[in-house]
Symmetry: C2
Subunit: 339 residues, 2 copies
Amino acid sequence: MIIDCHGHYTTTPKELGDYREQQKADLKKNPQHQAQKGALKISDDQLRESVENAQLKLQRERGTDVTIFSPRASWMGHHIGNASTSKAWTEHCNDLIHRLTTLYPKNFVGVAQLPQSPGTPIDSSVRELVRCVDELGFVGCNLNPDTSGGFFNGPGLADRYWYPLYEKMCELGVPAMIHVSEACNAPYFQTTGSYYLAADTVAFMQMMTSDLFKDFPELKLIIPHGGGAVPYHWGRFRGLADMLKRPPLKESVLNNVYFDTCVYHQPGIDLLLDVIPIDNILFASEMVGAVRGIDPETGHYFDDTKRYIDGSTKLSATDRAKIFEGNVRRVFKRFPSSL
Amino acid sequence: MIIDCHGHYTTTPKELGDYREQQKADLKKNPQHQAQKGALKISDDQLRESVENAQLKLQRERGTDVTIFSPRASWMGHHIGNASTSKAWTEHCNDLIHRLTTLYPKNFVGVAQLPQSPGTPIDSSVRELVRCVDELGFVGCNLNPDTSGGFFNGPGLADRYWYPLYEKMCELGVPAMIHVSEACNAPYFQTTGSYYLAADTVAFMQMMTSDLFKDFPELKLIIPHGGGAVPYHWGRFRGLADMLKRPPLKESVLNNVYFDTCVYHQPGIDLLLDVIPIDNILFASEMVGAVRGIDPETGHYFDDTKRYIDGSTKLSATDRAKIFEGNVRRVFKRFPSSL
């Protein structure tokens, strides 16, 4: 089985975007506007239509089986509005994912967006996580480490601010993917290029310079986009651990941190497989995401990362099975055993 | 000849640090304090002592010949104080580099720090660049793309804010290395780990999404630390150029942008050499910098990057000569032909 652990619902029916625009309009009139969840009229047929010719078609074409699926990352937009804005928006986004997992239980497994909001306690995120795991059958969450949208002025990931969420994640047995949303300080940051990769790198550095995993030995965090700059600079990070008098990375982070394979060319994947232990690598493509075109150098989709894993000359069959399935099941403990 | 194009004077005599502390003390009393340059009492013997057992010893041991040398990057601290603070501090830092290049003309060639200061025009940097090139014989400058120290809230590199500097650089025939200074939003950023690499990646994305090099076809910019996350994600950036309807990277940036080799392990250097055209790679180590220890996996210094270039199995002798010397001379046009 091939499990893609990083997919976002980027092809939502128009009604979801309209709902968000209405939220923004309400906030324009009154930044303190208290959002009500209200209803979203989207039929099952619309949901089917939105994925049949996109994610499902690509699953079939590429030969992957299941996608661990979450709301569109760039649309999380935690910097928009207030806590009520984020709560209503997040619940709808998660509800749609749940409906898709019900329509296509063999193709999609749910991961939650959290209703984070700058300057507000993490409690509402804890509550939404519980709802999504207990009631909607989700197996993980996406955690935004910079709800400001690019100003990097909130608490670092080792800050006690996050501890109630980490506690609940450990209790429920679910991991988080550390994933920022849209950058709102363009043109300084471009969301899917510089901002995502910068945030990935920042997250790793925060983890390796803290005692977070001493406090939460069971916590599992996934750094997407191949770990940002980290594997390419693995020597630098090993050396910085030494310079900063931190334990070796194997001790400080590699029992808890995982890298996905969203790296869109063969040499990058080869490097990832070369320097990061196989047990810490999870297959992912983020298909229908940041980079949707065809690579003129190969004639294949940039984001068809299965080809690069298949194309690696150093992986054993056991290694491949770990990356495609075993590691993902180990990290996402609640991934359905029936699948 | 082997030219290391990225070295900072990290081993300055204590008096320089004392001078900076006095600046900070003055600013504590009055944030508008107008700094006077004043004098710095450091003897030639002190300067010799500061490098003999550090940079010069390592040059000899590693078999490199010349270091293109600039003030300590993490100490540039453009966010500190006001324009007068930065002017006085920068002039002293550059003067020390000049004295070193006079004491060791075969070992050091100077590159300038600029007296940038948030919210102030770039004119003072243009003036200092002219002083350093015309009067001190410097061959380039370090340009800080985020003088806020980590909040990424200033003008992007394609903004017209920078154009007077770019014009002068082209007129003088000197390149800039895009290099941030200390992060002042710890623990969010760690300076030499996440902040440097994030800024490198941000800089590249700003360049590839702009028409900067159409306006300045002769401008040459160096992205340090192996280009941040860029080479590892070269497929992503090629794909993003396509997604964002930008020209291919070869057209948009590769006539103007260079990556140094400050990547501290063999697999990282191998990737860099594999995906980036050889003509765009400049040898560098940033020795006595961010990572000063010995890699237990190899028994050699992490930052002895010459070993990795030597260790590459794919480079021809011509390629090596380009990386070690030819490309550096081409980008740093004013590098002394006598050397």
